[in-house]
Amino acid sequence: MSRTRIHQIAGIIISALLLLAPFYLPEIRVHLLIEILIFALFALSFNLLYGYAGLLCFGIGAFFGIGAYVYALLLTHLPQMPLLLGLLISAFGAWLAGIAIGFLSVRLRGAYFALITFAFQMFLYAVALKWRSVTNGDDGIGVTRPEFYLPLFGKISLMNIINLYYLILGVVALGVLLAYLFLKTPLGNSAVCMRENETRSSFLGYDSFLTKVTIFSLSGFLAGLAGSLFVLFNEFVATNCIDMNMSFAVVLMAIIGGTGQFFGPVIGAAFYTAFQNWLSSFTQHWWLFVGALYVATVLYLPGGLVSIANLFKRGD
C-alpha cells in the first residue's frame, strides 16, 4: 500500500472519529478534544512560519492573545454581532498586528527574529497587564457564549457542549484547510522558496521582505482565530492568553509533534494536551516532564513524533 493510500485511509478514520466523538466520549473528554482542536490550529499557525517559511517566531502568542482579547471585547460590547463575524474580526485584528510586527521584524534573521517577536509579545503582555480599564489586567474578562444562528437550524445554544464542539471543529477544520491549501498555492510556494534559498529567490525576483510579512500576517490570522475560539470555549480571557507560557506551549507542541510535516503540530497538540492533562492529575510539576521531553526531542529526535515512522523505514 502506498504512503498516500495510508494517509488517505488514516485521514478518513480520524475524520470519522472526530465527527462521531461526542457520541462515544464522555463530556469531560469532549472538553479535552475541543482544547486539542484549538491548540492544533494554533500550533499549525506557528509551524506555517517555522516549518515552511523558516521563520522561528517565539512571539506567536501575541497573535493568539490579540485574537482572544479582541473577541472578548467584541462579546462584551457588541454581543449581538453574528458569531462567525466576531471570530473573523478577531482573527483579522491579529492579522493586522502580524503586518505591523512583521514589518519591523522580518528583516532580522534566525535567533534575532525570534527574539524580536518575543519582545513584541512581551510588550503586548505588559499592555494587557497594565491597561486595566480595557483588559482588566490579570483579573481578566469574563464573557458569555453567544448564540449561534444557522440558517436552516435556527438558534443554536452553545451552552450545549456538543454544539460547541461541532462549531469549533468546523472552524478549526476550515482554518486547517486554509493553511493546507495555502501551501499549495504560488504564494505558499514563495514562502518555501524563501526558506530553501533566499539568495536565489531574490535573484529570481522574489521580494523577500514582502513575502515574509505576508506569511507572517497569515500566521497571525490563524493564531488569532485560535485565540478567539479559546475565549469562546473558556468564556474568559486573561493575561495568560498572551504570556510567554502560551508561546512556549505551542512551540513545544510543534516541536514534539514534528515540524517537518503538515500534521506534525496537530499530533503534537494532541499529545501535549493529553499528556499534560494526565500528568497534572497527580503532580503539579508536570511542566518538568513535558519540558524534559521537549529538550529530549530537540536533542535526539529533531523530527518530532511524526518522524518515528521514518525510523522504521529501511535506511534511506
Binding site: G110, A111, M122, F123, Y294
Partner: protein
C-alpha cells in the same frame, strides 16, 4: 510633582543601579552570542539561580558575604555542566535549534526552582553593614544601592582590564570579531568559549545575589530581566559589550524615569526605543552587519 534637581539625580541613581545590574547579566549573554553565535536564553536562569542559592546559603549560614562568593561559583560550575551536556550538541545545528533548546532549558529551570524552593517568594535582607540609608541631597538613599553601584563599577573595571590588558582578554575580543581566524591561529576556541560561558554565568549569578535584597526572589524574577536583556542586545548590537553597556544604562534610566512619570506605560518607552533602533539601525547601536 516636583521635578527638582535632587529628585532627578536620585531617580537617575536608581536607574543607574538597575542599569548596572542589567549589564552584569547581559554582558555574558552578548559575549557568548558574539563569540559563538549562540543565544543562550537559559543564561537568565543563572541570574535566578544565583539569587535562590544565595538565599539558601544566607539562611543557613547567616552570611550574605559567603553567598556572594559561593553562589556564583556554584552557578558557574553548573553552567559548565549545562554547556557540556546540552549546548555542545547544538553548535553545529544552527541558531533555531539553539534558541529552541535554551528557551526550553529556561522554563525547566524555572520549574525546577519551584520544585526545590517552592512557589512562595522570598525576601532577603541586605547585610547589617549595608542596611539603612544615608542622606544624599536632602533625601535618604539606601546604602545598599550605593554598594551595588560601587561593587558593579569595580567588577566592570576588572572586566575591562582583563579584556584589554591580558592575553586571554585580547583573544576573546578577537574571537568575538572573527572566531575562525582566531582558531586558525592555534587557539583552543572551545576552551575559551567554556571559560567565557562560565564567566558570564558567574557574573549573572553575582547580579542575582546582589539584586536579591533589592527585589523579591520568585521563580518569575527572570522574566523581566529576560526581556530587558533582549532589548539590550537588540539596541546595543549583538556581541558588542560597549553597546550592551550603553543600552543597559539607557534602559535603566528609561525604567526609572518612566516609572516616575507614567508608571503604567513605562514599558512603552522601552519598546519605542527598540522599535526606533530596529527601523533606523537594525544591527543595533554598535553592532556589525549580521
Amino acid at each position: 510633582m516636583g521635578t527638582s534637581i535632587e529628585i532627578i539625580i536620585i531617580q537617575a541613581m536608581h536607574g543607574f543601579v538597575y542599569g548596572l545590574l542589567l549589564f552584569m547579566v547581559a554582558s555574558g549573554l552578548t559575549l557568548v552570542l558574539g563569540m559563538m553565535g549562540v543565544l543562550n536564553i537559559a543564561h537568565i536562569a543563572f541570574y535566578m539561580l544565583g539569587a535562590y542559592i544565595a538565599y539558601s546559603i544566607t539562611t543557613y549560614t547567616g552570611s550574605f558575604w559567603l553567598s556572594l562568593v559561593a553562589s556564583p561559583i556554584i552557578v558557574g560550575a553548573l553552567s559548565i555542566i549545562i554547556e557540556r551536556i546540552f549546548l555542545k550538541k547544538t553548535y553545529k545545528a544552527g541558531h533555531a535549534l539553539q534558541i529552541l533548546l535554551t528557551f526550553g532549558l529556561y522554563f525547566i529551570f524555572a520549574e525546577l526552582v519551584r520544585l526545590i524552593w517552592g512557589t512562595s517568594p522570598f525576601r532577603l535582607a541586605p547585610p547589617e553593614l549595608l542596611s539603612g540609608g544615608i542622606t544624599l541631597l536632602g533625601k535618604t538613599f539606601p546604602i545598599y544601592r550605593l554598594f551595588i553601584i560601587g561593587f558593579s563599577v569595580v567588577i566592570f573595571i576588572a572586566m575591562i582590564l582583563i579584556l584589554m590588558r591580558t592575553r586571554i582578554g585580547i583573544i576573546i575580543r578577537a574571537a568575538v570579531y572573527d572566531t575562525d581566524m582566531v582558531e586558525a591561529l592555534g587557539n583552543n576556541i572551545p576552551l575559551y568559549f567554556i571559560g567565557v560561558f562560565a564567566a558570564g554565568a558567574f557574573l549573572a549569578a553575582v547580579a542575582g545575589v546582589v539584586a536579591a535584597p533589592l527585589l523579591t526572589i520568585f521563580s518569575g524574577m527572570g522574566d523581566q530581566v529576560l526581556l530587558d536583556c533582549f532589548v539590550v542586545i537588540i539596541v546595543g548590537g549583538f556581541g558588542s559589550l560597549l553597546g550592551a553597556f550603553i543600552a543597559s544604562l539607557m534602559l535603566g534610566q528609561l525604567q526609572s524615569f518612566g516609572i516616575m512619570w507614567i508608571p503604567e506605560l513605562a514599558i512603552v518607552f522601552q519598546f519605542l526605543l527598540m522599535a526606533l533602533v530596529l527601523i533606523i539601525r537594525p544591527t543595533g547601536l554598535m553592532g556589525e552587519e549580521i
